[in-house]
Point group: C2
Chain length 125, copies 2
């Protein structure tokens, strides 16, 4: 089980693939370039590197390759989050949660969801 540690750009592209599903480089690029000024070949190169790293796979049947994320969103979130908790919050997820809830807005509805989750966690014990 190898650690997933995408760079900032790679994470952006993964997010696009997670949300869009299968994509050509062109499709990814159009979204990727919405908030940045980057050329097409930059996006292409990033995706090629991600391919060589095993972050994505691609169907090369057609001239225009089709890319797909090879790492799941859930697993990647867990890994990145886990690393942050370990590095920055002394391994305490709860300490991180306190920091997050203390400094970010949350709606009643969202707070309710967390309460529910807490209840579930307690039942599990």
């Amino acid at each position: 089980m190898k650690a997933i540690k995408p760079t900032e750009s790679e994470l952006e592209i993964l997010k696009i693939l997670w949300e869009q599903g299968e994509c050509t480089v062109r499709q990814v690029h159009e979204i990727f370039a919405e908030n940045k000024e980057v050329g097409y070949t930059t996006t292409l190169k990033l995706m090629q590197i991600m391919h060589s790293k095993g972050l994505v796979e691609r169907d090369e049947q057609q001239k225009t390759h089709i890319y797909r994320a090879l790492v799941s969103r859930d697993k990647t979130e867990k890994q990145v989050l886990g690393k942050l908790i370990k590095d920055m919050f002394d391994g305490s997820a709860v300490r991180m949660v306190m920091q997050a809830l203390g400094s970010h807005q949350a709606s009643d509805q969202e707070l309710e969801k967390i309460k529910q989750l807490l209840a579930e966690l307690e039942n599990k014990k």
Copy 2:
């Protein structure tokens, strides 16, 4: 208000300074090198760069400089966490909390703390 974006090594050194308070390079190095094989001058260089970036200050009265963190732990945690929430969790702190609580152990005592915090947040509204 400038964004604090320490690198991985810088964050490690900041953590040492936050926990130890004032430190010489030697003191930081001894802890920093516990889990890695790095030479003394590597630690020194990192701290010099952090100084030039304004992440730490130093007292140069003595030949052996004394370093101190210039960014607070709380503020740095908020910034780093905020960026992760924005980049990875669609800006939803709650989604991140759900992920964190769902995949990391938490003691009853810790869960209790979170419940308390939730109650406080609800009262504030």
